[in-house]
Amino acid sequence: MSTRTSTRGSGTEIVGPKGAYLTTRLRTLGEHRSLTAGLLILAAVVFLALAGENLTPFDPTRSFVSVGDRAYSIPPLLPPGSTVKLEGQVELLFVLGTDHLGRDVLSRIVSGARFVLTVALVATAISAAIGVTLGLLSGYLGGALDRAVSLVMDSMYAFPGLVLAIAVAALLGTGILNMATAIAVVYIPSYYRMVRSAVLSLKSLPFVDALRVMGMDTPSILFRHIAPNALYSIIAVLPVNFADAVITEAALSFLGLGISPPTPDWGYDLNTGRRYFLSGHWWIGAFPGMMIVLTVLGFLLVGEGLGERFNPRRLIRR
C-alpha cells in the first residue's frame, strides 16, 4: 500500500515529507470542517425540534391568529414575504408564505423538525439494538444459528427497504412508535452484518483465548470484551443510518403512511405541497423539502467526519 511519502503515478511526482505533512494537515482540516459543519446543522435542527412551538411566529396547526379577543383568519396561498394588515394597525409578516389552508409555512417547518427527529431517533435505536445483539450472538456462537440468521438478514438486506417499511407501516398504522418500528426493520440487517463481521475477526485474536484460559464465561467475554471493540465499527455508520431514517420517514409520510394531520411533518407537507407545486405555489412543498435535504446533509457530513476519525486507514490509502 502506498503511503504519502512514496512515489505515485508516473514516478516523477515525489512527495517529500514536508509536503506530506502539509497535505495531511490541510486534509484533516477539511475533514474537521465537514464534521463541524455537520454538527452545526444538526445543532440548529435539534434546537428547532426542542423549541418547536415556543419559537414559531404563528400556531402551525391553525389558520387564524388571535389578536386581543378577536380571531382573524389568515388568507391561504400567500407568497413568501407577504404581509397582512389587521385593523388595529398590527402587521403580520409571513416570511415563507402560507399554505392552502392559510397556515404559516415557517411555523410548520420549524415545528415539523420534532416529529421527524423523534421517529428517526427511535428507529435508529431499535434497529441498532436488535441488529447489534443478533450480530454479536450470531458471530460469536456460529454454527446453525449463524447460518439461519445470516440467511434471513441477507434476504432482508436484498429486499427494497422502502417496500419493507411500507408493508409494515401499512399494517401497524400511524404513530411515533409504529413508524419507528417500520423504519427500524429496514436497518437491522446493516447493523447485523457489520457487527457480525467485526466479531468474526475479533474472536480469533489472542486476547479472547487468554480470557477463556483465565476461566471467564462466554457471556462476559462476549458482552464485556468483544462487544465494546465491535461497536467501534458502527459509530461512523450511525449518522448515515440516521440520515437514511429521516429520508424513509419523509417517504412514508409522503405516501400517506405518516402522522395524521394537522401535526406538522415535512414529508406530509411536501405531499400536500405537491398538488400546489405545479400551479406556481411552490413554497408550500419546497421549504419542507429543503429542511429534509439540510437535515440529511448534516447527518452525512457528521458521518463523513466520524468515518475519517474512527477509520484511520482511510487516510492513508485512497
Binding site: 429486499f159 417496500v163 411500507i166
Partner: protein, 338 residues
C-alpha cells in the same frame, strides 16, 4: 465448472432465497400486531362482520396453517382479490409490471451513463478539486429525497421550461390509440401496431421519471468509477502503456473502464433494492402506472391484498434480479464461477 453449470446451480440456489423472502413477507404482514381486516373495513364495523371477513380471508386459522396457505397460493400464482373491485391481484400486477420494468431499465441505463461519465471525467481531469466534486455530487444526490427531486424536475424542466410532460405514460390520445396491447410494453406494442409516433410520445413521458430515478442512483456509480479508475491509473501497466505512446483517452477507455466493470456490476446488483424502492416514490410523483404506483393506490384505498401482493412480487423480482446479476458477473469475470 462451465458457465452453464454455474447458471443451473445458481438458479437452484434461488429457490431457498425466494422461500426465505416469502417467509419474511408473511412474518412481517401476519405475525406483527395489527389486524388487516380492521385496517380494511374500519374500526366501527360490528364484530360479526369482521369475523366473517376474517374467515373469508382465512385469517382465523392458526398461523402455521395461514403460512402454508400463503406459500401454496403464491406458488399457484394466486395473490388474492382486490378489496373493492374483486379483481385478482395477480392480474392487476401483471398489467402494471411492464411500466415498472420500462422505468427501471431506463433509469438504470441513465444512472450508469451519468455516473460513469462523471467518474471518468473526474478522474481524467484529475486535479485537487475533482474528488470533492464527486463527493459533493454523491452527498447531495443522496440527501435529496427522490420524490423531492421529482417535484423539482417537474416544476423546472416540466412546467417551467415546458420541455417534458409531468405525468402519465402516454398522452391521453395515444393511450386510446394504442388499444390492443399484446406485450404490455409500449415500445413493442407501438411497433407491432405500426404506430412509431407513439414511441416518441412515450419517450417524452419517460424522460422526467427516468431522469429522476437515474440521478438518484447515479452517485454510487460515480463514486465507484472514480475510485476504481484512480486505482487503475496508478498501476505500473498504465505507466508502461503511456511510455509506449498510448494516449490517455485510449488507456482510460480500454483498460480503465474495463477494469471498473466488475465493481460496477456488483454495485448495479446492490442497487436493485434502491431502484425498486425509489421506483415506488418516482411512480407516485409522476403517476407512472407501475407496481410502485399500485402500492401507493393500495395504501390510499386501504387495500391490504394489493399491498401484500405487490410486496410478494417484489420478493420474487429481487430474487430473479440477484440471479441475473450473479450470472452477468460470472460472464464478465471467469474467476467467479467457483
Amino acid at each position: 465448472m462451465g458457465l452453464r453449470d454455474y447458471v443451473v446451480k445458481r438458479t437452484l440456489l434461488m429457490i431457498p432465497m425466494v422461500f426465505v423472502l416469502l417467509t419474511i413477507v408473511f412474518v412481517l404482514l401476519r405475525a406483527l400486531p395489527g389486524d388487516p381486516v380492521t385496517m380494511l373495513e374500519g374500526k366501527d364495523i360490528p364484530e360479526e362482520v369482521l369475523a366473517r371477513r376474517r374467515a373469508e380471508l382465512g385469517l382465523d386459522q392458526p398461523l402455521h396453517v395461514q403460512y402454508l396457505n400463503y406459500i401454496a397460493s403464491v406458488l399457484r400464482g394466486d395473490l388474492g382479490y382486490t378489496a373493492l373491485e374483486r379483481i385478482p391481484v395477480a392480474e392487476y400486477i401483471a398489467m402494471r409490471l411492464p411500466a415498472t420494468v420500462e422505468l427501471a431499465l431506463a433509469a438504470s441505463l441513465l444512472s450508469i451513463m451519468i455516473g460513469v461519465a462523471l467518474g471518468v471525467l473526474a478522474s481524467f481531469y484529475k486535479t485537487k478539486t475533482t474528488l470533492p466534486v464527486v463527493k459533493v455530487y454523491s452527498s447531495v444526490t443522496f440527501a435529496i429525497p427522490v420524490f423531492y427531486l421529482g417535484l423539482v424536475l417537474q416544476a423546472t424542466l416540466g412546467v417551467g421550461a415546458g420541455l417534458f410532460p409531468t405525468g402519465g405514460r402516454l398522452s391521453a390520445l395515444n393511450e386510446v390509440e394504442l388499444s390492443p396491447r399484446p406485450t404490455g410494453f409500449v415500445i413493442l406494442d407501438a411497433l407491432l401496431a405500426g404506430k412509431p409516433w407513439i414511441v416518441v410520445d412515450f419517450l417524452y413521458h419517460l424522460a422526467l421519471p427516468s431522469l429522476t430515478l437515474g440521478i438518484y442512483l447515479s452517485s454510487v456509480f460515480a463514486r465507484v468509477t472514480y475510485l476504481t479508475l484512480a486505482e487503475v491509473t496508478s498501476q505500473d501497466y498504465f505507466t508502461a502503456g503511456r511510455s509506449r505512446g498510448l494516449t490517455k483517452v485510449m488507456l482510460v477507455w480500454r483498460y480503465g473502464v474495463r477494469n471498473a466493470m466488475i465493481p460496477l456490476v456488483t454495485m448495479a446488483g446492490l442497487q436493485v433494492a434502491a431502484l425498486l424502492g425509489g421506483a415506488v416514490l418516482t411512480e407516485t410523483v409522476f403517476n407512472w402506472p407501475g407496481i410502485g404506483y399500485l402500492v401507493y393506490e393500495g395504501i390510499l384505498k386501504r387495500d391490504y391484498a394489493l399491498v401484500q401482493g405487490a410486496v410478494t412480487i417484489y420478493a420474487i423480482i429481487v430474487a430473479v434480479v440477484n440471479l441475473v446479476v450473479d450470472v452477468v458477473y460470472a460472464y464478465i469475470d471467469p474467476r467467479i464461477r467457483y
